[in-house]
C-alpha cells in the first residue's frame, strides 16, 4: 500500500483549500439543489397557505381545524414524515418538497391569519362603505395590510426550510445535507464545516432578500416610522 498523501484532506483539517478545489462542482450542485428545494417548497407552501388563512378568517368555524391540523403536521418528526410520504412520491425530490411544504404550512398559515386578523374593523367597514366587494376588499385592503405579519412568517418558514432540506439526505435529495451526512459518517471535518457554513449563508441571504422584498412591498411602514 502506498504512503498516505500529506495534504489538508489527509490531515483532516477543518479548513481546507484542497477540499474546495477538488469538490467545486459537487459543492455547486449541492447548493443548486438546496436552493431549488427550498424555493419550490416555500412557494408551493405559500400558494396553499394563503387560501387556507383566508378561509380561516372568513369562516370562523374553520379557524380551529385549519390551525390544529397544520400544527399537528409540524410535530411529525422529519424522518417519519419522509417515510409516510414515501409510498406516495417514491424516492424523488418531490418527496422532500412535499414534506417541506407540509412543515411550512404551520408558520405561513398562522402568520398570514394573524396579519388578516390585525386589519382594523374600521378599515374594513370604510372599504365596504366605499363600495368594495369581498374580493376587492381582500386583494386591495386586507392582504396588503396583512403583509408585514405574513412576510415575517414567510421569512421564518424560509429559514426553517433551508435547514430542514438537509434531512432530505436520507432519501438522497438533501442538497448540502447530502454532504453533511456523508461527512459525519467519516469524520470529514472540512466537508461538514464547509457544507454547514454554506447552509447558514443561504439562510442569511434568503432572509435578507425577503426583508428587502418586504420593504419594497410595504413602503408605508417606513414612512410611518420616519
Amino acid at each position: 500500500m502506498t504512503a498516505p498523501p500529506n495534504d489538508c484532506l489527509a490531515r483532516n483539517e477543518w479548513i481546507c483549500g484542497a477540499y474546495l478545489t477538488s469538490r467545486r462542482q459537487i459543492l455547486l450542485d449541492a447548493v443548486g439543489q438546496h436552493l431549488r428545494l427550498t424555493a419550490v417548497s416555500v412557494l408551493v407552501g405559500l400558494v396553499i397557505a394563503v387560501p387556507l388563512a383566508v378561509l380561516a378568517r372568513r369562516r370562523r368555524w374553520s379557524a380551529a381545524p385549519v390551525l390544529g391540523v397544520t400544527t399537528i403536521l409540524y410535530t411529525i418528526p422529519s424522518l417519519a414524515m419522509f417515510s409516510l410520504l414515501l409510498p406516495l412520491y417514491g424516492l424523488s425530490a418531490t418527496l422532500v418538497v412535499a414534506g417541506l411544504v407540509l412543515y411550512s404550512l404551520t408558520l405561513l398559515v398562522r402568520n398570514i391569519l394573524a396579519g388578516l386578523r390585525a386589519v382594523p374593523e374600521e378599515t374594513r367597514q370604510a372599504a365596504r362603505g366605499l363600495g368594495y366587494g369581498p374580493i376587492r376588499l381582500l386583494l386591495t385592503v386586507e392582504l396588503p395590510l396583512a403583509l408585514p405579519a405574513a412576510m415575517a412568517g414567510l421569512r421564518i418558514a424560509t429559514v426553517s426550510a433551508v435547514s430542514l432540506v438537509t434531512v432530505g439526505a436520507i432519501v438522497g435529495f438533501g442538497g448540502l445535507g447530502n454532504l453533511i451526512y456523508a461527512g459525519m459518517n467519516t469524520y470529514f471535518k472540512a466537508q461538514v464545516l464547509t457544507a454547514s457554513v454554506l447552509c447558514v449563508l443561504i439562510a442569511v441571504a434568503a432572509d435578507l432578500l425577503l426583508l428587502g422584498v418586504q420593504r419594497l412591498l410595504t413602503p408605508w411602514t417606513r414612512a410611518a416610522r420616519a
Binding site: 498523501p5 483532516n12 417515510s83 409510498p87 417514491g90 424516492l91 467519516t186 469524520y187
Partner: protein, 312 residues
Amino acid sequence: MRLRTAAGAVLLTLAACTTGPSLENRGAVTAPPGDSRHLTIGSAGFTESDLLAQMYAQLLNQAGYKTSLITVANRELYEPALESGQIDVVPEYAATFADWLNAKTNGPDAPPVGSPDLATTMRALRRLATPRGLTVLDPGRAVDQNAFAVTAAYARQHHLRTLSDLGASGLKVRLAAGDECVQRPYCEPGLKKVYGIDITGIDPKGVGTTQAKRAVQSGQDQMVLTTTTDATLDQFGLVLLADDRHLQNADYVVPVVNRARAGSERVIKTLGKLNEVLTTADLASMNQQVDSWRRLAQDVAGTCLRDKGLLK
C-alpha cells in the same frame, strides 16, 4: 453496514406496512429480464457502498448505459425502490441481505437464513429475492464480514494468529463491540462456544468505531469487533485474528439488480467481470483512500478499475 439497519428501525416500522410487492406491481415481478438504457445505481451511503456503486456505474457507462447514482441511507428505503424499479442496481452483502429479506418476508422472529457457508447463503438469498423481482448476481471474491482484532504486541506476546489460538491460550478477554454482541451467534455466544474464548464482558463502544479501537490500543479492552475491509487497523497497531472455524456469515459482495429493468445478459456480464477480480484487500485499500485520505470515491473507484484493466 449492520449498524445502519438499526438506525432505520424507525423507518422499518413505518414503511413496512406500506411497502412490498402488491397486485399493482405483480407484472414487474414476473416480467422477463429487461435491458433498460438508463440505469439508476443505488448506494447505501457508507464509503464501501459508494465505492462499489461508483464502480458499477463506470463499468455500465463503458458498456453503453446511461447511469445515475442515488444515495439512500437505509435498506428500509432503498430495497422497496429496487423492487419497484426506481433503483436498478445495488451493491449488497449476501448473508446480511438474505437475513434482511427473510425478516421482511417471514417476520422479525424468523430463524436466520444467512450462514457461514456461501452456497447455502446464496440459495437462501435467491429464494427470497427472486419472487420480489430481484436478480442476485454471482458473488465475487470480496468479503466484508465481521472480524476480530487485537493489538500486534498482544498477539506477539501470546503467539496468537487465529481465534482458536486465543481460545487455547485461556486468556481473559474484554471485547469492544456493539451491545447486540451479547446475543448475536457470530459474536459473544459464538466466540465462547465455537472457540472457547473466555469473554469476561462486552464494552459497548460500537462495531469498529474509533473509540472501540482506542480502547483496545490503550489496553482497556483486549479485542475489538470490526470488519474485514477495515483499513485503519494499522493506525491503531491492531491485527486481525483469523476466523479459522468459520463462525462469520458469508457476507460476500453481490450486486442485486431489478430483473425487469437490468436483468439482461449484458448487465450481468459487465458487473461479473468486476466481481471476478475485486478482492477484500482492494476494498480495504479503497476504503482507506476515501475514509482516511479523503479522496473522491469516484476517482478512487476509477483508478481501481483502470488498474484492473476493466476501464479504458
